[in-house]
Symmetry: C2
């Protein structure tokens, strides 16, 4: 599935914008919703139900990814996956992306080709029918990927963070802490003596722990479960990107309820999943008596404790990742 | 209109993401098309005619702007203006933006507040009713602004680059070379002895040439003229962002026609407008006998010379700005 980057590749500075685009665009598909794809001032996308869901995200080399650890293919895959999950968390079916990339002129064209391949394969695997309808190329000293993703609510109301009610069932779909475990391994064993990300050492970590490293670098979030949850009547839902504790508190605060997790249901994953970011699972609530659709699993219940996150009835201090105060400035 | 940045401002690293957002979001409006604005995993926007126009753009400190020259307010204004013009160039009415910003943790919050004010005022002036429906904050060593803009075709077909026909009238709306003149002045006189952008010298340039500097740093493109052109039956249209020569060639190639400019109609501006980037005017073609709506002015005609740009019947070599090979890596 993954195409290795060629070692002999012209740089994007040597090629210029037009010839770089000519290498990237054929690797992408515009998808079923594209009425007009890339090539004009703007794209035109179908919005069958008269609305569209939109979310945007910036991925920056250093705080968000490191080329010493991620392949370009993985970067593209993750950029797609994380944005598709935000669309899914509204109960929408992802339809399209636009992608803007800023890169140093010295970047080999093969890096952008790899990102394009990862975007394409990530869309095909996680949101069949969705495509890349447009984009932009810019220059920067820091490789930066901006993705904006769109979705179709297919006539349904969006599933918000604010709809959880006391008595609802709390359910979770997707990974629980694997992305954080993978990142911890990379920081602990994929760095050189100075603590900087190191490709050779990262490859060794990857060989020893392929699933945990993949969960961090090329996650497979349960995108299709978003629509399934909405159809089943989910009362609230969000993408778990900042750790289960912090994201659970967001539903608790928006809905004015308490989220009481069942420690036994979460089992040994509980501590890691609560603190660890980037799992990109879905946390949702369902009315009493509704069976959460697979792959959702019941992990607790909604209780009358406004804004609180609890485990087995005891409140916890919900903390998480902050993109500014949580980053030390290393650019990997 | 412009609020000066305060000199005493906490950094966004000190504030963290939540408190930074709490300072920015109240400065923005979500606009008339927002069914659900910022605050959930994604926004929901109305698409009354079952389609939406979408364009995306990355603005990077160094190649695209310099804080030594631009105020934060001007950055926000320009980020809005350039994206709104791409929407207008499809014949669409701009409805919404999403904005993702990556900034060093040491950035004063006042910088992001200024950008938000510029976005807000730019939208209010150029596309009343449009708003910011969502966004993202990230960390980076380089200040980077990613804007994705949306528009409503109101039932009309999009105006493409490929629709010009021999015999059509060629018309232009907006500035002709002023942005390039302003940038040339800033490079010539707004830099220090080492050629680096210098705030004090730039202020002197601004005092001497307020209109040319404003055309570069806070342009007023003819956004409303895009819908007017579409209603009048424009056969092709684009945003003139890379110089009139290079952008004219895009229509010529996409339509398989020649664009023959009337040298007298362009007058003294011709040379600068042809080579100079970032004017963000609109270049459009109209069927014979159709009067281009104001502020469009007739500047030539469409002739049977596929892919060529001509002045008074003589072909020219259409060149322009390239974001990779045209940038020397200075980060200003």
């Amino acid at each position: 599935m993954e195409r290795p980057a060629r070692t002999e590749s012209p740089t994007i500075g040597e090629l210029g914008e037009s010839r770089t685009l000519a290498r990237i665009l054929p690797r992408l598909a515009s998808g079923d919703a594209a009425l007009l794809g890339a090539g004009d001032d703007a794209a035109v996308v179908a919005a069958a139900d008269g609305r569209y869901v939109v979310t945007t995200d910036l991925l920056v080399h250093g705080p968000d990814f490191r080329l010493a650890w991620s392949t370009p293919f993985e970067l593209g895959w993750k950029a797609a996956a994380t944005n598709l999950t935000d669309v899914a968390a509204m109960g929408a079916r992802p339809t399209a992306l636009v992608v803007a990339i800023a890169a140093p002129p010295t970047t080999p064209a093969a890096v952008l080709e790899g990102i394009a391949d990862g975007l394409h394969e990530g869309l095909a695997a996680l949101a069949p029918g969705a495509g890349v309808v447009g984009g932009d190329l810019s220059a920067s000293t820091v490789l930066t990927i901006a993705v904006t993703a769109f979705g179709d609510l297919e006539g349904r109301a969006p599933v918000l963070r604010s709809g959880a009610r006391v008595g609802d069932v709390l359910a979770h779909a997707g990974a629980r802490g694997d992305a954080a475990r993978g990142l911890a391994l990379l920081f602990a064993e994929g760095t050189d003596a100075a603590g900087e990300p190191d490709p050779e050492r990262a490859a060794e970590v990857r060989a020893r722990h392929p699933e945990l490293v993949a969960a961090q670098l090329a996650p497979h979030p349960p995108v299709a479960a978003g629509v399934a949850a909405a159809r089943a009547g989910a009362t609230s839902m969000l993408d778990v990107s900042d750790g289960l504790a912090r994201d659970a508190r967001r539903i608790a605060e928006a809905s004015g309820v308490g989220l009481d997790f069942d420690g036994e249901a979460l089992g040994a994953d509980l501590r890691v999943a609560f603190a660890g970011a980037e799992d990109h699972g879905l946390l949702a609530t369902f009315p009493p008596g509704v069976e959460p659709p697979a792959p959702f699993e019941v992990v607790g219940r909604i209780v009358p404790a406004p804004g609180e996150v609890l485990i087995d009835g005891r409140g916890i201090d919900a903390e998480g990742w902050d993109p500014y105060s949580g980053w030390d400035g290393r650019s990997g």
